[in-house]
């Protein structure tokens, strides 16, 4: 059988193949990635597209959790202040219920302090965070509570009962606000009404015990509602941990699916380089051989 006298094309093809293998391996080593174009591994590219979307969403969830946690902490500490104000009001009520031993001047001092507490709680109920009122329901662009002598409680509520829920995970949402109506005038106790009742009772020196009882109920409602913030903050904390571990998983998946294997890439680069050198040497000696060199 006659041999192909013109092997240059074959040699060039095999040199080009070695060169390509070498370049691919070097590119993998340099970028650390095995899948740079969809055609490198179509299934892996599809998985990576989802992986990147999820990782980016997780970063977003972490951001939103830290933002909303700050707001919830402000709300929680605000209610903490409301609770201590109410606590003080209850003590004042008990003091005011001391009967005949209390002078009119003392009672009016108590009334003044109670009115101060009323103002303070009104201020706290209108707390805003980054321009939005946190106890206004979803009508959060305007202060929800305002002093109103015409109202029996002395205060009127302009907010609504709307709540917002926020996605903080692939399939996990939390409610992030309590409307002021539910917090300050919920079922079983109305903060402003019972404060107003106590002020009137101390002023008139009658029915103080009943008024204190009413205030205690309002106090209980507020402390019960406060648990909501603690719960959400705890959930967000847990969610943060779970998202961080999910991110770790995603990073692992990304490496497993799209990452280059440095050891394999390095050895592929070396063996391709060796093969290429060998092919080049073989080519040089082969292409230099011709009978014409010897016909002198």
């Amino acid at each position: 059988m006659r041999v192909n006298p013109n092997p240059i094309a074959d040699i060039l093809a095999s040199i080009a193949l070695d060169q390509q293998t070498q370049e691919t391996a070097l590119a993998q080593l340099a970028s650390g990635r095995r899948v740079n174009l969809p055609s490198d591994d179509p299934a892996a590219a599809a998985t990576l597209s989802l992986n990147h979307a999820q990782a980016s969403q997780d970063d977003q969830f972490l951001q939103v959790i830290s933002g909303v946690s700050a707001r919830l902490q402000v709300a929680d500490s605000t209610i903490g202040s409301v609770v201590s104000s109410l606590d003080r009001a209850i003590s004042l009520g008990i003091e005011g219920g001391g009967g005949a031993t209390l002078s009119n001047a003392n009672r009016s001092a108590i009334v003044t302090e109670l009115q101060g507490l009323q103002q303070q709680i009104l201020g706290l109920a209108n707390t805003s965070f980054q321009g939005s009122y946190i106890f206004a329901g979803t009508a959060s662009t305007a202060a929800p509570f305002s002093a109103n002598p015409a109202s029996p409680s002395g205060v009127s509520y302009a907010g609504n009962t709307g709540t917002n829920t926020l996605a903080v995970g692939q399939s996990f949402s939390v409610t992030v606000n309590l409307p002021g109506s539910q917090l300050f005038s919920g079922t079983g106790g109305d903060v402003f009404q019972s404060l107003q009742d106590l002020i009137v009772a101390v002023q008139n020196n009658t029915g103080i015990d009943t008024a204190v009882l009413g205030l205690r109920k309002a106090f209980d409602v507020v402390t019960t509602q406060r648990v909501f913030y603690g719960n959400v903050l705890q959930q967000l904390d847990a969610q943060q941990t779970s998202i961080n571990s999910e991110k770790l998983q995603l990073a692992r998946q990304e490496n497993a699916v799209g990452g280059a294997d440095p050891a394999a890439a390095a050895s592929a680069a070396v063996s391709a380089a060796t093969a290429r050198t060998a092919a080049l040497q073989a080519a040089t000696s082969l292409l230099n051989t011709s009978l014409f060199n010897f016909l002198k």
């Binding site: 006659r2 094309a9 179509p42 939005s132 709307g162 829920t165 996605a167 016909l295």
Partner: protein, 455 residues
């Protein structure tokens, strides 16, 4: 009985034959790098012997017609594989270009993620103007990533259309050339001369044609005809039939052979690769982008209209509604509102409500295109793009290897070996020198014979 003069005639014939052989060798050496050249072999015949009973004398050598060494069946097989290779190479080249729009940091997938992330941000503080603006910017980026990807595919399609026209004119040049070669070959063969060199040229022309289109070689009585695999006539003996390209109602160039549209009937060659990418691959990708853009904008618009903007008014469309029938949705999608306060984030009319923003956000997990959520659908588009390129690459490599083997085989039969020519050169040189020596010797003998009478 032999004579000195008959020996002289034999020696002169030998000189001529060796000269002819040297000529063949020289021609082979000269064409060592000519594409498609098939080496020629010097043919020697023994002269018809002279009978002078009871003796028989040889009359030397006759130099025959040099033969081209070629395996016609193998050449046909090479043409066919060249057609496959031409098609796959064209597909790989075009699809690689198409897939660049589906990777990197500005592709639809990245912008989809950014869009939904900005919605999640907005949900946390729905009345914030900067966040509303951020959401509109993300929506704008999503729309423009759809547009950019779709438009670059459309531009590529237009460019391919121009390549189709160029290919048709290349095909016509080649078929004209082959018809001319057929005529020359027939002219030589009619007077019983060897047309080997011309046949080599024609074979090379057919190989070039095979890169462009699926050619079938049909031998006829004295020549060959060329048709496409589907039977459209390209060359009949010395006449060529030009293909023509005409813009079809669908806006792309269709190819006609003698009035018949053969666009969808090709089965190989780079022309078919171009047409496949132009008429199937790219429209397929565009359709997937359109489906996603239309599904996403329709779903988001429906939800957006159900909500309320910052002023408590009912929301309008978020994106411009997709065209009826989906086609063109990706290249025409844009954000319908520019005023951030018109973003309908609220579900109850109050500015602080995030109910509708949350509903819009939930679209990320809803079936919007072919029963899949936007991320899963886009991932399947990425898979399809990559798989198209990878499949074409694999086919091109496989066809390339077969072509390489066939070329090796063809070369082992037809290519010029310089070593062989060198050896032949020595043989013919020695034989020539020997024949020359015979002439010198006969000359001396003749001198001797003439001088016999002088003593």
């Amino acid at each position: 009985m032999g004579s000195l003069f008959s020996s002289l005639t034999i020696a002169v014939g030998a000189l001529q034959a060796e000269q002819g052989a040297l000529n063949v060798t020289s021609n082979n050496v000269a064409n060592v790098n000519t594409p498609g050249y098939a080496r020629q072999r010097a043919v020697f015949h023994e002269g018809v012997p002279v009978e002078l009973p009871p003796l028989v004398f040889g009359t030397g050598v006759v130099f025959g017609q040099p033969q081209s060494v070629r395996d016609d069946i193998l050449e046909l097989r090479l043409h066919e594989e060249t057609q496959q290779q031409g098609q796959f190479d064209a597909e790989v080249q075009q699809l690689q270009q198409a897939q660049t729009g589906f990777q990197g940091t500005n592709d639809v997938g990245t912008q989809l993620t950014n869009f939904f992330n900005s919605l999640n941000k907005l949900s946390a503080d729905p009345s914030s103007q900067p966040l509303r603006q951020g959401f509109l910017t993300a929506a704008g980026n999503l729309a423009s990533s759809f547009q950019t990807t779709a438009r670059s595919l459309e531009i590529q399609r237009t460019n391919i259309d121009q390549s189709v026209v160029q290919s048709v004119s290349q095909i016509n040049t080649l078929t004209q050339q082959i018809a001319g070669q057929n005529q020359q070959i027939a002219a030589l063969e009619n007077v019983h001369e060897d047309a080997g060199v011309l046949i080599s040229q024609r074979t090379e022309s057919i190989r070039q044609l095979s890169q462009l289109i699926d050619v079938r070689v049909v031998p006829n009585e004295s020549s060959i005809s060329l048709t496409t695999a589907n039977g459209a006539l390209l060359v009949a003996s010395s006449q060529s039939f030009a293909l023509s390209a005409q813009v079809s109602p669908s806006g792309v160039q269709h190819i006609f052979s003698q009035g018949n549209d053969i666009t969808g009937k090709l089965s190989g060659g780079s022309l078919n690769g171009l047409i496949t990418v132009r008429d199937q691959s790219i429209p397929g990708l565009l359709n997937q982008l359109d489906t996603l853009a239309a599904g996403l904008s329709t779903t988001l618009n429906g939800i957006h209209r159900a909500g309320f903007d910052l002023n408590g008014a009912a929301g309008g469309d978020l994106f411009t509604p997709p065209p009826v029938g989906v086609t063109g949705a990706a290249s025409s999608i844009s954000v319908a509102i520019t005023d951030p306060s018109l973003v309908a984030a609220s579900s109850d009319g109050s500015p602080g409500s995030n109910g509708n923003a949350a509903a819009l956000y939930n679209v990320r997990g809803q079936a919007v295109a072919n029963g899949q959520n936007p991320f899963d659908y886009y991932a399947s588009v990425v898979f399809n793009v990559g798989n198209g390129v990878a499949t074409a690459q694999t086919e091109s490599q496989a066809s390339g290897q077969i072509l390489q083997q066939l070329t090796d085989q063809r070369n082992s039969i037809s290519a010029v070996s310089l070593d062989e020519e060198g050896a032949n050169l020595l043989r013919y040189q020695n034989a020539y020198q020997a024949a020359a020596k015979v002439i010198t010797t006969i000359n001396e003998l003749t001198q001797a014979a003439v001088n016999l009478g002088t003593y």
